[in-house]
Amino acid sequence: MPDLPFFRNVKDSLPHSSWEDPAAAYSSGYVGAWPDPESTERLQDAVMRSGGRWNAEDVAYQIGAVGQGAGKLSLLTEAIAAVFGRAAMPGPAQTIGDCVSHNLRNAILGTYAASVSAGLKGKPQVTPEAVTQGVFATEVPYWWRGHSGDGWNCDEALAVAMKHAGAVIRQNYPDVRVDLSRYSAKVAHKFGAIPPDRTTAAPFGNNLVTSVTRCRTWEECRDLVAAGHALSSCGSEGFSNRRDDWGVSRRQGRWAHAMAGMAADDRPEVHRRYGCGLILMGQSWGPNWNEGPRRIYGTNLDIPPGYFWALWDEVKARSWSAVSDVNGWRNAPLRPWKVTEIV
């Protein structure tokens, strides 16, 4: 997004936003997400300090993911559906310019659900209402956006998810008088220029994102999605509100917007038709902003309402960051070793 103003130049003059139709607002030039090289540097520092790796190429090797998504359809949405149900997507439509924290929530949800469905993590108790509200709250990370208006930066949000608030279950938190049962713009605006005090923030720091890695190529994004890592993404690309018969929406207009990458399709037939792979954009404008077929080609599965496939060649300029994992919800214990029974 080279032609958008940097965060440091606009953050003190940002207004609150409020609308019924986010598609109209973003298409009219509303800036919900912007680049900020300083935030990127801070995030990279945080990743390195935590012992993580910033470059996806290194990470893909270390986790054995190189080539894992090659030629395949990889759907984190199916992991979410298996763990929490299909009602968890697309989540509540944003009513303010907090697309970055919706994108963050979706990326965390996708990664976490993949861990649970792989048997690595336990599943937290969530109410049916919490599921329809996206399982995890978007409001709490947004409190650390650093200004009192709306709009944010993907990398700053990821840094917040590693330090202050990552996966926050949608429920009432009476001890700190914060009700996160349902998505609320009012709660999202509770803090901003000044972050919450330590007491208020305390219940929300238990399930932080452990690390983040930057993806720069289709192969890196594809392989990390296949390995169970959803992608946070910011960019300035707009898209048609019509999906084609394979569920693809083509570039149209400009949105300064954040949307998570929730699936990757690298199948040969996709490359033959579109000339590149596809990435599933986790839109946060609710189920009704777009229309057209949702069936995934060659399957009996549908993408969630409101989501759409984008051509990698049309989104490759966006920032793409994979969420590694979420702390907490204790992992399954490793069974005792049997070496002494063998040797």
Partner: protein
């Protein structure tokens, strides 16, 4: 993860042992070949090495080869079959199982060696099933075990 695929990987790695049988000790192949035993070990796994020097030389060589094949399996895993500590645990035990029993190369139990190997494997794997995020460590571990045994 597909358990059958993991079993296949372990078997394929074990078959790698068969593929290099020309290098294996004479007793295993029925040919009188000298067995190279490295007694100038300077690595960190001294407890394992001290236990391993009491093993029959051909058993040491076979076990070292098994661990090296295990390391290669983790290194060359491009399909995510060894993506978690549980899968790594199964792969390591599968390699030993094949080399020790199914492969028929080692016919003697070595409790001290077993304990030292198990301690090292469990130290690297930790107590929980987690995604492997530092694969080099899980390659180095069987490689170091091979060096200490050999």
């Amino acid at each position: 993860m597909n358990d059958d695929r993991l079993r296949f990987l372990v078997l394929a790695a074990a078959l790698g042992l068969v593929a290099v049988k020309e290098d294996l000790p004479s007793k295993l192949l029925g040919k009188p070949k000298p067995v190279a035993v490295a007694d100038d070990y300077t690595g960190p796994l001294t407890r394992l090495h001290a236990a391993a020097v009491k093993m029959a030389p051909e058993h040491r060589a076979a076990m070292a080869e098994a661990f090296n094949q295990g390391a290669d399996s983790v290194r060359d895993d491009n399909t995510g079959l060894i993506a978690t500590t549980r899968q790594w645990q199964r792969a390591m035990e599968g390699i030993l199982q094949f080399a020790y029993r199914d492969g028929g190369r080692i016919d003697t139990r070595y409790p001290d060696v077993a304990l030292a190997i198990q301690d090292e494997l469990s130290k690297v794997a930790g107590g929980e099933e987690v995604r492997i995020t530092d694969r080099q460590r899980f390659i180095d571990c069987p490689r170091n075990l091979a060096a200490a045994v050999k």
